[in-house]
Assembly symmetry: C2
Homo-oligomer: 456 residues x 2
């Protein structure tokens, strides 16, 4: 690999073990690690500019990276690349209650932004499950969702403006800090969700809203899947939509209870977790939700009276990932379908699991139609892994056939590259690559992610 | 001009007077009408495809057009063009309460969409002042704002997905109908606000929200501009932001009162109009707003008790445009500045009016920092018009110096082309034209709008 410019030498990670840790993200390792890569930890925008000048001049691929919580292999090292970690750009530059925004570096952890907003009585919505560790830069790169999207939308709904460094080191700005602004094209939405394939985000202006009340939780138990979906439908149609509406199916509930007793019944078809945070109306909402859920067929609804009870009801949800991981290897799905097709989708997934001989606990953001089936395989059995990948493919195709998308919030990353064309079609795939070339003519930004790497 | 294909012959407007009416929009006529243009009124998507196939094959410019309510000359005919009017694509294809969206043609009038949503207990937010006549296609093209943006955001915040026909007739889709979706780049935000320079929008999927309560109005009178701005600041910082927060300055109030008695005091520095529509809390909010406005220094606050009183308080605002037009010719400004710089901005505009010897009533969406100074000139006096254009330039430069944008919601159109580079810089201007070329390689889409027409 071409040697880094001198100013970057102190930013290079040389310890072999530490260096290797930057090659991976939270996605199951899909391929052997490359040997030939360099890791640079940027401390400021000038470091990012220096990397992108150098990369463009030498034709070196760049993999931008935050806290590496991607579940789609969006931030893994590729052969011959510079892994450009921007966790060090973690300054909260401004929290502006009057204009209603904050200006932050891409390395700011989601939870830290929420906290800074909260100190001013304000609120930053998006809450990926990894909110205590994931960074805003990664949230922007993947247009991250989370648990509160059912009420508050996704990252794109909260990003007003960006500063981005392009290959070659040019700095560009998108969007507006003013409340309105329509001068020229707004490229903010193009960069949000672009998964590091266009440039490196070095500053993010996010919208802030007034803080809601602390949320309280209800847990509803169902002995049929149709009833659980009817409960979701009833809550989506309520004029005051919940700020959290999660579904956990029978297989997932069993996995959680096998891991520890979190008070879920062993024999239910599904449970729903529901929250309200509406200022002054949390208790009213929960009472109304409970009645709606009972009308939909819930056999039991537990409503938290305070924060402690609320947390207890969520505890099972919180250990879910760990519970699944104790079962074996896991392919994490992220398909989103219309809410009206949820019951068909869950039933179809159950059938796929049976046909392929793999266990598939289904859970996720039911209120959004965005489920995360976990396809569990035996770690020491290549045949089981092969069947898991077949089930993975089946689930994606089922989702598309129901009017869904191959990825609701995790991104295409490296994992779903083979399926993107199925959703977009060849003409759109080609057009998006021509768009990429406007920003990245040499194709050095995160090659092999989202789009297949061009043949060497 | 090359002859239209046979299938479009019945769609062509041949009556000379009717034809000429399609050459203009709501913007003051800036240049003589071109003689050489064709008007096609599309009835369906196939007509749009046929026009764009023909236009690409013959290198004919296309000017997409809805209800022609643009105030920036975004929809005016250019020499040798086909004016492609899509008002006929006015079907409301679907209103889906469960998934929370509507699918509509670009010719659907904003008010018709609001009404269709309202029949399902739902709400479509954006409300440009021309909402009773303007179309959703035009709203998308300009990323239209309106009066309720202070609470509900702009058109871009409500558009989920688009169907677009590109030069050559290719149909593309952007975005997702599902609640979440991150497969590939989301080009929705690129098309929203692109002012017809990339393609023709033929279908729009908009987000719908639960309907709020009917809004009620308060009117606050101030004898100093600083106090009025303090009132805006106080209301923006309130945890329950108003759904309308308009400012009308002394000159505007006088113009309104000269037009008819709408109950405004003649000697005030400014008035604010404020509304709440928060379900179950309209009266609480207005009482709290009134107290905040009095603390900020309002000399009088009138709070409507019912819909009729509410309308009466708004009546002066509604006749404002007509009142200004009775004063002479008018250049309509649309600069947006940070809310914290509003007082400086209004004072600066007053100084510009005095320096240039033109009357400049200032009013607009104070809660957004988005003002519409009207630069009034004598219709029969070329020198007055020249001074009005100097004032127009001064106001734009003042807005930029305060951290603002040259256009908050009207768009660049043909009027603000000379100023776009001031805001974006040469590199960004060139990049955006390269992006345009990905969709429109021959440069036939609305040439001369947004970007200067290339030299012939």
């Amino acid at each position: 690999m071409p040697e880094l410019p001198e100013r970057l030498a102190p930013r290079e990670v040389t310890d072999p073990d530490v260096r290797r840790s930057y090659a991976l993200d939270a996605t199951v390792a899909l391929a052997p690690l490359p040997d030939d890569f360099t890791v640079v930890r940027a401390r400021d925008v000038d470091d990012v500019v220096a990397v992108l000048e150098h990369a463009q001049a030498t034709g070196t691929p760049v993999v931008p990276q935050g806290a590496r919580t991607s579940r789609a292999g969006g931030a893994t090292a590729s052969d011959g690349c510079i892994v450009l970690n921007v966790e060090g750009l973690d300054a909260i530059h401004e929290v502006n209650p009057l204009e209603g925004y904050a200006v932050v570096g891409p390395g700011v952890v989601n939870a830290a932004l929420k906290q800074a907003a909260s100190r001013e009585g304000l609120f930053y919505g998006p809450d990926p499950a990894s909110w205590e560790t994931c960074t805003i830069g990664g949230n922007v790169a993947t247009n991250a969702g989370g648990l509160c999207c059912v009420k508050y939308g996704v990252t794109a709904d909260w990003v007003k403006a960006l500063q981005v460094v392009l290959p070659g080191g040019e700095m560009m700005r998108t969007g507006h800090r003013t409340v309105k602004g329509v001068a020229g094209y707004d490229l903010t939405g193009l960069f949000v969700g672009s998964e590091g394939t266009l440039g490196v985000v070095t500053e993010v202006v996010v919208r802030l809203a007034p803080a809601p009340d602390p949320a309280l939780t209800a847990l509803a138990v169902f002995d049929s899947l149709d009833a659980a979906v009817a409960g979701i439908v009833a809550l989506r149609l309520d004029p005051h939509r919940p700020c959290l509406l999660e579904i956990i199916d029978r297989t997932s509930v069993r996995a959680i209870q096998a891991f520890g007793d979190f008070g879920f019944p062993d024999d239910c078809a599904a449970v729903l977790l529901v929250q309200s945070d509406r200022p002054g109306h949390v208790a009213d909402d929960l009472a109304r939700y409970a009645a709606l859920l009972e009308s939909a067929g819930a056999t039991d609804v537990a409503v938290a009276a305070d924060a402690q009870e609320s947390e207890a009801l969520l505890a099972g949800r919180r250990v879910m990932s760990t519970a699944f991981e104790s079962m074996g290897g896991r392919l994490a799905e992220d398909v989103c379908v219309p809410v009206g097709r949820l019951a068909e989708f869950v039933r179809g997934i159950e059938a796929i699991g049976e046909r392929r001989g793999v266990v598939v606990p289904v859970s996720g953001h039911g209120g959004d139609g965005n489920l995360h089936p976990s396809i569990v395989y035996a770690l020491d059995d290549p045949d089981s892994l092969a069947r898991a990948w077949q089930a993975f493919d089946d689930v994606i195709r089922l989702g598309l056939s129901l009017g869904g998308t191959i990825t609701g919030e995790h991104g295409v990353g490296s994992v779903k590259v083979p399926w993107l064309g199925l959703e977009l079609g060849a003409a759109e795939l080609a057009r998006q690559q021509r768009l990429k070339a406007v920003f990245d003519p040499l194709g050095i930004m995160n090659p092999g992610k989202v789009f297949a790497a061009p043949p060497e």
